[in-house]
């Protein structure tokens, strides 16, 4: 049913790289804006603002990035599902991505609210950065495995 050769996405050589660029721009928006909040939680950058102010300023841009990323990603996947299906790094990446998104909208969001201890802020920020960097490593390594 899902043969790579029958997928319209594979009809032009330009579609896959274009989607890849969208994917990169998407995570520059999403991971980039989340990282600004993370660095603020770590006490770096945007210190004239509270963590909550930075987080609420950036939330819509994070969402735009996630939308770009989660549109281009499945389309890239659909170009050759077999390759991804058999790739254990891809599985790992999906697990990390799920964890990162859930973490972002639960524990991470709570840490941006007032009354979070300095230690908790730093731990949450470090976990957030580690999860997202892990997702990016997964994205590159799945092509090398």
């Amino acid at each position: 049913m899902f043969l790579a050769i029958e997928n319209p996405l594979n009809s032009s050589e330009l579609i896959f790289p274009t989607l890849e660029c969208m994917h990169i721009l998407g995570f520059a928006f999403s991971v980039g804006t989340i990282a600004i909040v993370d660095f603020r939680l770590l006490g770096l950058g945007m210190r004239h603002q509270t963590v909550g102010e930075v987080a609420s300023d950036l939330a819509p841009w994070t969402l735009i990035g996630l939308a770009l990323m989660l549109t281009s990603g499945p389309l890239l996947f659909s170009s050759d599902p077999d390759m991804y299906y058999l790739n254990w790094v891809f599985d790992l990446k999906m697990v990390l991505l799920l964890l990162a998104i859930v973490f972002h909208y639960t524990i991470h969001r709570r840490a941006t609210m007032p009354g979070t201890s300095a230690l908790r802020s730093k731990v949450v920020a470090s976990i957030s950065i580690a999860l997202w960097v892990g997702v990016i490593f997964g994205g590159i390594f799945l092509a090398f495995i």
Partner: protein
């Protein structure tokens, strides 16, 4: 020393040979390069979008521009370091890569951009706070920056799509030994061979034979 010979010498050094020959170091550097793009890219985007009056409008322009400046430069330093490591390990291949050349041209335009607009825009942002207006040249600077960085991403991704001229490389291409999904491995995800082993140039001026193992 001509550029090509220099590239061949650089990639033949012990350090860069080690990077190239390890199956995981090169992708790890590439991942760090991308992680740097994610971390610093967001800051570049937010600074430019603030100058355009689109993002973080509740904050003053100077707050956004000045408070993200050093963090942004730290991220760019990571990107550049990883880029140099990738370049050094496959210097000869990059030498022939048209997208790499375009990317370096765009990079030099970005340097020109920062020289041109540093004085006239980025060090004047506190004035924009007072007047409450963002002048046209600041918006021009932000737009150009967004365009140039997008071009960097496109060229960067494009590099991986150029087939290396195997008959010209003084290196032996080894296919990945560790591949678990060889039969379904997509060639166009990463067309650049995973490991290239340096081989001394032939003294008779003949190109060393490329062997696919």
């Amino acid at each position: 020393m001509p550029l090509l010979e220099f590239a061949q010498w650089v990639q033949s050094t012990e350090f860069f040979t080690a990077i190239r020959e390890s199956w995981y170091v090169y992708p790890a550097i590439m991942s760090s390069h991308l992680a740097g793009i994610a971390l610093a890219g967001g800051m570049v985007l937010m600074v430019d979008l603030r100058l355009l009056g689109l993002a973080m409008r509740k904050r003053s322009v100077s707050d956004v521009v000045n408070q993200l400046r050093w963090l942004k430069w730290a991220g760019l330093a990571v990107i550049v370091t990883c880029g140099i490591l990738m370049l050094g390990s496959k210097a000869e291949e990059y030498y022939y890569n048209i997208f790499f050349r375009v990317k370096m041209t765009v990079l030099s335009l970005i340097l020109v951009h920062s020289l041109v607009f540093r004085r006239s825009v980025y060090s004047k942002v506190s004035e924009y706070d007072k007047t409450g207006k963002i002048p046209g040249r600041a918006k021009l600077a932000a737009s150009l920056s967004l365009i140039l960085w997008t071009c960097m991403v496109i060229c960067g991704r494009g590099i991986g799509y150029i087939e290396p001229p195997l008959d010209k490389l003084h290196a032996r291409v080894i296919q990945q030994q560790h591949s678990t999904t060889e039969s379904v491995n997509r060639s166009h995800v990463s067309r650049v061979p995973s490991a290239i082993v340096w081989k001394l140039p032939d003294t008779h001026g003949m190109r060393s034979q490329m062997e696919r193992m």
